[in-house]
């Protein structure tokens, strides 16, 4: 399980994260939501150890990430970045195999086990047929799944995703998030993902944390966090929250101040 305790990150005098405390249990998806510039990406980056924190701790399964080497940390925690400007020269399989880097030496000599796990990850994201294709020939949704497979190949118990659905259309958004849910339950992963889309957060996350100005303003189930009161204040506009017709999860509708088209 992932435990983030009182994590504080400063950029010069600017406090980007202010005593953020969160935990994610195995088999659970936590969505980080919040307005632009709230610190969602900073939280993902700080949790993965690529930017230094001023104070606080990050523990996985009781192991403090502080003091671990870069490769040791990458065995506990894998990150799925946004699929943009990927090096196009590598094939899908080569890209996924690079997920085994934390277990390889400087030369990158791979063993049978590494190929087995890369192949397994490839099939888990249902890209088996595209293994030898160059990443640049793939659609945005497929590229995002390649990065998910690369993270799975790392064999980490914690997965961090930075707005994985941002550049995807409706079909690929649903495809990716369904896939993530299935992987979480099959492999007992702890997943923390920054999400822009509040409705997707409501549909796919077990718990939601609302990050505003670097602070956690609310956290809990989607129903507890995605309320008209919470969101109106944060996004600085009135919103309506209605239950999803099938699942009852909160759906957020913007209020157009009466300026919208009427039928």
């Amino acid at each position: 399980m992932l435990e983030i305790n009182s994590l504080t990150v400063n950029f010069g005098k600017f406090t980007a994260l202010d005593k953020v405390t969160l935990d994610v249990n195995p088999g659970e998806v936590l969505a980080i939501i919040g307005p632009n510039g709230a610190g969602k990406s900073t939280l993902i980056r700080a949790a993965s150890g690529v930017i230094p924190s001023r104070s606080g701790s990050i523990c996985i399964g009781g192991q403090d990430m502080k003091g671990l080497s870069t490769s040791e940390r990458a065995r506990y925690l894998a990150v799925v970045p946004q699929a943009r400007s990927l090096p196009p020269a590598f094939t899908v399989y080569q890209t996924i195999l690079l997920g085994r880097t934390p277990y390889l030496g400087w030369l990158g000599q791979t063993k049978a086990q590494d190929h087995f796990l890369a192949q397994q990850s490839l099939e888990r994201v249902e890209l088996g047929k595209l293994a030898e294709r160059r990443v640049s020939e793939l659609s945005g949704g497929e590229q995002q799944r390649v990065l998910l497979a690369r993270a799975l190949a790392q064999g980490a118990e914690v997965l961090l995703l930075d707005e994985p659905t941002t550049h995807l259309d409706l079909h690929y958004q649903a495809l990716l998030l369904n896939l993530i849910r299935r992987l979480v339950s099959e492999n007992n992963l702890s997943v923390m993902m920054a999400l822009h889309d509040l409705n997707l957060a409501g549909l796919y996350a077990d718990r939601v944390a609302l990050l505003v100005g670097g602070k956690i303003q609310a956290s809990g189930s989607a129903k507890e966090v995605l309320t008209e009161k919470n969101l109106a204040g944060v996004y600085n506009m009135p919103v309506h929250v209605i239950p999803h017709p099938e699942y009852g999860t909160p759906l957020i509708l913007p209020d157009g101040h009466g300026m919208t088209v009427s039928h």
Partner: protein
């Protein structure tokens, strides 16, 4: 589409290198037929003694003049192409050539300063020169890197502009040293411009250990360079100590460049042209790109040198003129198409 040469990159490049070595050894004011070159070489091998059916002059010219020059040129080409590939990988910038980013000029300045302090009296005195060039190269790369960096990114154009500025500065310092030079330093300048002040095997032997260390370190860094293609943050998240890897590769690339510059002067564009064609033909996997650039760079510079020696024979053009004639238009082509190239 299965084309034979696409499937056998090492065989193709080794064959081309063998052909280039043979041609380079054969061509010159005195033409030595490739058949004679092969037999003289075979005769040198232990345990083989051939009936001598070639003039003694051939043997002297080949072993004392042609082959040392050929070997040095092949080594310089390999060094420039492989360090170019490595710079491109670390900076994730298709235009990072040792000449264009100023490292070559910095190395040249270092070498000239070393030679101006004390011109080597004997061939062992050659060993410190690559080290001085190496210091010049590392200082240059640090300077260019810090100037060109904009926040967390290193835009293609600012890297080249910073390279040009630093390169001009280093070149003018070199010229300044030349103007107030003693006769000994004039020899150094001539050497830097590629004229053969020193002949024989000494320059090659002095360059070899540095080149082996530098290129060896680059060849084993292919996997790290592959991971670095995703950017520093992703590389770290994938478990690579990105800062350390980048520093190590930059030091190795600078040593490699410095070795070439210290003994063959400043030759541009080899590090741009060769890795690009390797990428287009055989893909961007650095574990293959680096060894293939070594082979490709060696035969490419040998062919350029052959042109330089034969175009206006008996006059010998500086080889840098030939590589620049081919390289500058190529540079413009890469600059125009640097965005959205599928093979990069």
């Amino acid at each position: 589409m299965k084309i034979g040469f696409r499937n056998h990159p090492f065989l193709v490049n080794l064959s081309l290198l063998a052909a280039a070595l043979l041609l380079s050894a054969a061509a010159g004011p005195v033409f030595i037929p490739p058949g004679a070159v092969s037999r003289i070489l075979a005769d040198q091998l232990p345990g083989i003694a051939l009936q001598q059916d070639w003039p003694q002059a051939f043997e002297t010219i080949l072993l004392r003049i042609r082959l040392p020059h050929t070997a040095l040129m092949a080594l310089a080409g390999a060094a420039l192409a492989s360090s170019g590939a490595a710079y491109q990988g670390v900076f994730r910038n298709p235009l990072a050539d040792p000449y264009l980013i100023g490292v070559a000029s910095g190395a040249g300045l270092g070498a000239v300063i070393a030679m101006s302090i004390r011109w080597p009296a004997e061939w062992r005195g050659l060993y410190p020169i690559p080290l001085a060039a190496f210091i010049g190269a590392v200082l240059t790369i640090a300077l260019v890197y810090s100037i060109a960096r904009v926040g967390q990114t290193l835009p293609t154009t600012t890297l080249i502009l910073a390279g040009v500025a630093v390169s001009s500065f280093a070149t003018s310092l070199t010229s300044f040293l030349m103007f107030r030079s003693t006769s000994e330093l004039r020899r150094a300048i001539g050497w830097m411009l590629g004229s053969s002040v020193l002949t024989g095997w000494e320059p090659f032997l002095a360059a070899l250990p540095y080149a082996v260390i530098g290129m060896g370190a680059l060849v084993i860094s292919g996997h790290a360079l592959n991971v670095l293609q995703y950017g520093e943050e992703q590389a770290q998240q994938l478990g690579l100590s990105a800062e350390r890897a980048k520093a190590l590769i930059l030091v190795a690339a600078s040593l490699t460049t410095a070795t070439a510059v210290a003994f063959t002067g400043i030759i541009g564009f080899v590090g741009l042209i060769v890795p690009h064609f390797v990428r287009i033909l055989w893909g961007g996997d650095y574990r293959r790109l680096l060894p293939l650039s070594i082979l490709g760079g060696a035969w490419f510079l040998l062919m350029a040198d052959l042109l330089a020696r034969t175009l206006l024979a008996p006059q010998v053009l500086p080889v840098g003129i030939v590589t620049a004639l081919a390289g500058a238009p190529f540079f413009l082509w890469v600059l125009r198409s640097a965005k959205g190239q599928a093979f990069w």
